[in-house]
Symmetry: C2
């Protein structure tokens, strides 16, 4: 394989980012690492998250990478500067691209962001939004049931809509733009869109990150424009439900999955 | 304070066990430790869970304990024998008492058990049920949304009932007894009972554990029969929502909460 885009996450959620990258950049080879043995990162200390992130990056750099994507909100919040300092390849996280897109799309400067309790408590999106859209009013809300809903595959019908209504009902009238600040949430996009209504623009961090990757590669002249690339998928543990969950997140059955120690 | 009952859990769930113990044994002093900084244990290796469990036990043993309760299914599955071997006080876990009660109550030998994905995958309840009720047929099912539902306080109404229907609908006709094999589930007892119907007996592990503690103290002559005991509550981290969650799990506002390193 030629030089690849490396992507890591604490688990399966980052597969939505991988999917967006593969759709946007169909000629790029990719290598993904899901640290499923140590998931979740959200409840771990910043120091531990930074150490695990460096482990993951070093594992991926055994392949010839042109760029590394941190497809995990917690790892982006706690380890992006450390990774950028330690590595010679460009490193892109998931927080800033979503914040930039939201800042560009809002009309009234009232932006919402939803994520896990850990991501919202870290304040990473709130800071990125305030930097990208100075003077904007930011509403942040944690939605703890969305991750297990997505992992169960309960993404359409009454149940996810009822959960979304409970979390988002109060936000509906307050914002014109809502950032999906968790890699699991694209699976619930339909239910979230129904509850927020047509007046609210949803910003998918995965899509925004893929766009940022495409821009970066175009700027450095590193973008592949032809060929049928290879895609490798590594995980640190293979839970029983992994194949079906991975397929739901990736949109297709993964071609190659290997369990590794990092 | 006199000799107390020590209780530890990976987080807040064990407060349902503490509550059952305090209701059943109102004259006993208690000391609780919730390892909220390192929660959840379910995604950690058995070796790490055993090490953390020994840490927790040693912290509690700085108090004068008459008995230690492991109010965490994962810690019971991975560390109970190690704790019993290492400590001189009696140690009671949450798995065996629930299995014993279910074995005594089933009429047709068809017993269900529900818990987190980690507890069900560990097989601890299945083994305990097969030992307590030889020849019984055991149905085990993981219910990942129940913990976040309980922690959100969404315990009554349409939403928990719809989630319970989705998890338990298929189990309804198969069992006459169902073990609530997770310390969070007593909060959802109403929704679970409605979905399972009046023909199914629910076994609350917290109640069963409290009964086992009472029996053990009675047998050794260590039971307090009078006095107004003190109750101490320690946690390794105090998350923002801790006071309201703790109140929901404990049934009353905790008198004393202190953050400690263990």
């Amino acid at each position: 394989m030629g030089r690849a885009i490396g992507v890591f996450d604490s688990g399966v959620g980052g597969l939505t980012v991988l999917r967006a990258i593969r759709e946007k950049l169909p000629h790029e080879a990719t290598v993904y690492l899901g640290d499923t043995a140590r998931v979740p990162y959200g409840s771990k200390s910043p120091e531990v998250v930074a150490r695990y992130s460096l482990n993951n990056a070093r594992f991926l750099l055994q392949h010839d990478l042109k760029l590394l994507v941190v497809a995990c909100n917690t790892a982006t919040a706690h380890a992006l500067p450390a990774l950028q300092a330690a590595l010679t390849v460009p490193v892109i996280g998931v927080v800033e691209p979503g914040a930039q897109v939201a800042a560009a799309l809002t009309r009234n400067g009232r932006i919402g962001v939803i994520g896990t309790a850990g991501t919202i408590a870290s304040g990473a999106y709130q800071r990125a939004l305030e930097a990208a859209a100075p003077g904007a009013t930011v509403f942040a809300s944690a939605c703890p049931l969305f991750v297990p809903l997505a992992e169960e595959g309960w993404t359409s019908g009454d149940l996810p809509r009822a959960v979304a209504e409970r979390y988002l009902g109060a936000l509906r009238g307050s914002v014109d733009t809502l950032v999906l600040g968790c890699t699991h949430y694209p699976l619930l996009r339909g239910a979230i869109a129904e509850v927020m209504g047509p007046g609210v623009t949803l910003v998918d961090s995965a899509q925004a990150t893929a766009a940022a990757v495409a821009e970066r590669l175009a700027a450095s002249g590193d973008r592949e424009t032809g060929g049928d690339p290879s895609h490798l998928l590594y995980v640190t543990d293979i839970p029983a439900q992994f194949p079906s969950i991975a397929e739901a997140f990736l949109g297709s059955r993964p071609e190659h999955v290997e369990q590794v120690d990092v």
